[in-house]
């Protein structure tokens, strides 16, 4: 078997794995009913989904042309930034009281998201 054929199979496998994980993330987003639980599916499954697609792109560039390292950077930036969006979404959920009230922290007075003056509390409308 030549390098091209092996490369093609590897690329296909990576594309299928990546697409499958991305799809599972979307299914989780649709299926779960609690806002905090719903957050889990796309944040985690998305990383390997996109990671596998980028790996496919990298293999393709090395087998069929000069090769490219941009995908490594994309992956690194993605891993650094994706927890921040997850954190923002969960902070909004806590702020709008969309989820169960979290337990009180043991050493400090309150969670920083809940640490707002009473008249500024924004409660989500009941479903």
């Amino acid at each position: 078997m030549s390098l091209e054929i092996i490369g093609t199979y590897a690329i296909t496998a990576c594309l299928i794995i990546g697409a499958a994980f991305a799809m599972i993330g979307t299914i989780g987003l649709l299926k779960f009913n609690d806002p905090m639980v719903r957050l889990h599916a796309p944040t985690k499954v998305g990383t390997i989904g996109i990671g596998a697609l980028l790996l496919a792109s990298m293999i393709h560039s090395y087998v069929f042309s000069d090769g490219s390292m941009h995908e490594l950077l994309i992956m690194a930036f993605l891993f650094v930034t994706s927890p921040i969006s997850a954190n923002f979404i969960s902070k909004v959920n806590i702020h709008r009281r969309n989820c169960d009230v979290p337990p009180v922290p043991p050493q400090d007075e309150a969670w920083s998201t809940l640490d707002v003056p009473e008249d500024e509390v924004e409660v989500a409308p009941a479903k």
Partner: protein, 166 residues
């Protein structure tokens, strides 16, 4: 001599990282590109040093690399686990829970890395930090024992981060 070194390289690791990112952005390695990346890596930390006063010093690079590999492996395992839960577990049988993780780490940089790690790994998302910075609020996707999740986080990640930022 050492004072000149500290003035020129306020953050030597950041210098190397910026140079590496520059070379990766160029997509091909030539000596000229490496030199230009190094120049950028010297200028940028020098210009921004005033806005990062209490930066961590003495990070163990080798342990940091080992930690990254461990987290990458955990991310792979976590993805499969969460995918399995998404596909097989009905909503009624899911046992989500809040987990409070008391922190021994004090540096903001170390706490950010721990929070990011928790979000990327098995069925847990970092939701909030307490107002004094002494505990993290973590949401677990499916657990029957929140204390075990807390101990796992403290033992597996926080202990290693404490060694890295010693």
């Amino acid at each position: 001599m050492t004072r000149l070194f500290h003035w020129l390289f306020p953050h030597p690791l950041l210098t190397l990282l910026l140079a590496a990112v520059w070379v990766l952005l160029q997509n091909q390695f030539t000596p000229g590109m490496a030199v230009f990346g190094l120049i950028l890596g010297i200028i940028i930390p020098r210009l921004t040093v005033a806005w990062w006063p209490d930066r961590p010093v003495g990070i163990r690079v080798g342990k940091m690399a080992a930690y990254c590999l461990l987290v990458l492996w955990d991310i792979l395992v976590a993805n499969v686990e969460v995918a399995w839960i998404v596909l097989t577990r009905p909503n009624a049988k899911l046992r989500p829970a809040w987990v409070v993780v008391p922190l021994d780490l004090r540096q903001p940089e170390a706490i950010s890395i721990l929070a990011g790690t928790i979000t990327l790994t098995p069925g847990t998302v970092t939701a909030d930090l307490s107002d004094g910075g002494h505990s993290l609020l973590v949401h677990a996707l499916d657990t029957d024992n929140p204390d075990a999740v807390r101990d796992a986080i403290k033992h597996r990640y926080e202990r290693r981060l404490k060694e890295i930022f010693a």
